[in-house]
């Protein structure tokens, strides 16, 4: 028996990430010079001792499945470890996951195998570092049926989030999705711990409800509140970011350069784990200048890199300047290029003399081999 089983929702398409999720599920989008977005939640699980995990996939899962593999980088290649749960057919038919709650409902048999006391439900598209064990402790102390992790957001932004109204002892009495006039600034982070027996009952009931959208925030939580179940908020302090748009994806990457946030720590006690491709050390040449940047193995730098994030195996030739940009693995940047506020996707080749500079107030531009063609015409940037 396992005390707590984790269920990681990773089926999202991330439509607003545009080209970045064209062939890729959002959790598999490269992040932070070495990682994929999902690595943050996977590593949270490893670091907080959640060793049994179901990962629910649906949209474009190839890269994601390959990435998770047998779970080795996260120490989850053990007896229970990580299991990828994709939609399936059975005697009674089968269907796509129609909502977050439905995804868990359809995999109840997976959870039941472990006969857990609690179930942790998280999603694979947020950047944060959190010890779920502490949340579980509070869940047990308060004898809660459900605990929802919350973060204080600026009052002005509160109407963009799912807001929880709770009493002083953090007991939740109301949940409002994107309220016009928020009464609190405690936003739900989409992290839930449920007492499994309670959740089971609500999932079964919700599955029968044809009118339901089978969503935790919209259906399950309100239903539990209606029945005055014991729901508590768990206050999280620290960095948390939903990388839902290109702008926020870019910002979250740039946040890694901010010392004060200390997002990527390098202590054995709390590391972000991922695949390591065993590439050689990076080569910084005589002509290179590197400032305030993160650069991964296998890079070959002759140019100037400022406030940027370079994934593995990137090559930047002489007299080229890369500023405020995110460069995915295997990108080649020829001589004499000027790039500012761009996101260059895997293996794109930027020809010598390319200039693409995006204005401070515009959304950073995503470049791949296809969009590059458009940028090189006079309408986009200039090419020499």
């Amino acid at each position: 028996m396992k005390e707590c089983v984790g269920m990681l929702l990773a089926g999202g398409e991330g439509k607003r990430l545009g080209e970045l999720t064209h062939h890729l599920a959002k959790p598999a989008v490269p992040f932070g010079g070495k990682y994929r977005i999902i690595d943050f939640t996977l590593s949270n699980c490893t670091n907080s001792g959640i060793s049994t995990l179901g990962v629910l996939t649906q949209y474009s899962p190839l890269e994601l499945n390959k990435h998770i593999g047998n779970g080795k980088p996260w120490d989850m290649d053990k007896q229970s470890g990580v299991t990828v749960l994709s939609p399936y057919t059975a005697k009674t038919g089968g269907d796509w996951y129609s909502g977050t709650a439905d995804a868990i409902y359809q995999n109840m048999h997976f959870i039941n195998q472990f006969n857990p006391e609690y179930v942790l439900v998280i999603s694979g598209d947020h950047i944060y570092q959190m010890d779920y064990q502490k949340m579980l402790e509070q869940h047990k102390e308060t004898n809660a049926d459900a605990t929802i992790s919350v973060i204080e957001v600026p009052w002005d932004d509160a109407s963009r989030f799912g807001i929880l109204n709770a009493s002083d002892n953090l007991r939740i009495f109301e949940f409002e999705e994107k309220p016009k006039n928020p009464q609190s600034n405690l936003a739900s982070m989409g992290i839930y711990i449920f007492t499994w027996n309670k959740l089971k009952a609500y999932l079964l009931e919700d599955a029968q409800n044809k009118a339901s959208s089978h969503d935790f925030g919209k259906d399950i939580i309100p239903a539990m509140l209606d029945d005055t179940q014991r729901l508590f908020a768990y206050r999280f302090h620290g960095y948390w970011k939903d990388v839902g748009t290109i702008q926020s994806y870019w910002e979250a990457n740039m946040d890694l350069l901010d010392e004060n946030l200390g997002l990527i720590s390098n202590h054995k006690a709390w590391r972000i784990y991922t695949h390591d491709s065993n590439l050689p050390p990076q080569y910084i040449s005589q002509t290179a200048t590197v400032n305030n940047s993160l650069i991964n193995s296998g890079c070959f730098i002759h140019g100037t890199i400022e406030n940027s994030i370079l994934f593995e195996n990137v090559r930047v030739e002489q007299t080229s300047t890369v500023r405020q940009s995110i460069i995915h693995p295997g990108v080649r940047i020829g001589e004499n290029c000027r790039l500012n506020r761009v996101i260059i996707m895997e293996n794109t080749v930027i020809p010598a003399g390319t200039t693409i500079e995006i204005d401070e107030f515009q959304e950073p531009f995503v470049i791949n081999q296809e969009t590059l063609g458009g940028m090189l015409t006079p309408a986009g940037g200039e090419s020499k």
């Binding site: 070495k34 980088p73 050689p280 993160l294």
Partner: protein, 368 residues
Amino acid sequence: MKKMMGLINLDHEYHVFNELTYFRNSASIPFGGRYRMIDFTLSNMVNSNINEVAIFARNKYRSLLDHLGTGENWDLDRRNGGLFILPPDWNDPSDRSQGDLRFFHNNRDYFHRSQSEYVLISGSQFVSNSDYKDAFTYHLEQEADITLISTNVKELFPEHYPYFRIEADENGWVTEITNDQTNAELFTGVYIINKNLLMRLVDECIAYHKDNFFICGVKDKLADLKVQRFEHTGYSAFINSIESYFRQNMNLLDADSYHDLFLSNHFIRTKISSNPPVKYRKGSEVKHSLLANGCVVDGRVEESILFRDVSIQTGATVKNSIIMQRCTIEEGVHLENVILDKDVHVTKGQKIIGSKEKPYVVAKRQVI
């Protein structure tokens, strides 16, 4: 398909690395920013379709064992074959063998159990990125008993002194194995031998109380054996002293050498760790250097090699130096021509300058 098995024989390797080999054998000396010496030959073997490798290690192998683990980083954690680390554990009362022959004698099972008919034998001090498949094909084509891998060095350095030189006829048959210091064709210590012959030669050597397999079993019997040579071309390095170690590390700052060693045939595998990308902070100044993941740089780094997880604080200068894993260089420190072994901590304002020819070496875990 004909198959080779691998053997890395560390017996009879020179250990003249002073501080660097106080607590480890030369096979596990860190090299090239994130590797250990043994990674090169091990990766070459694995990348040449060899999937069983034995290691004869006599002493100071704690760090080697830690590095190799189950062999998973080299894809040697296999159901069949894999990695066999064979330290001395010799309890055969009838054992008459001496020198490295004791390893062969006491590990006969390793050879007998394998289906491979050929053995590739190597040490750890020849560093290259080679595909031994070509040498193996050549060995089979020539129907040789043994094929020695040689290389022609452009310039002879003191480290080349102890290595054997190869003389061969126009068809590549080896006629002499010498110590002729004017001959620039060096034996790399890597050779392919037919397994049955290997076992027979081992028996003969033991019968005559010999103590060095290569010298007594191959070199001295050259006239009775069909020995070919196969020339390795491209980057290579012989490393058997602090001076050669320092020079060859620094040589990797040359873009061509770097490409040849790291990116030519296949990539070199080593033990992976979960270090984040290198962080170059505001005001850092890095020129002409190699840096491994996990480093955090505030200060100046020039013509240097930084292993994983090194921190160079504000106002510190590191020049022409090798800084191994997890060293901390505090504010205002000046290092030049220095080798810091792992976990060295250099405190505020210290100044250490070695000479280019004789770098200053600091042993593991010192606080200065």
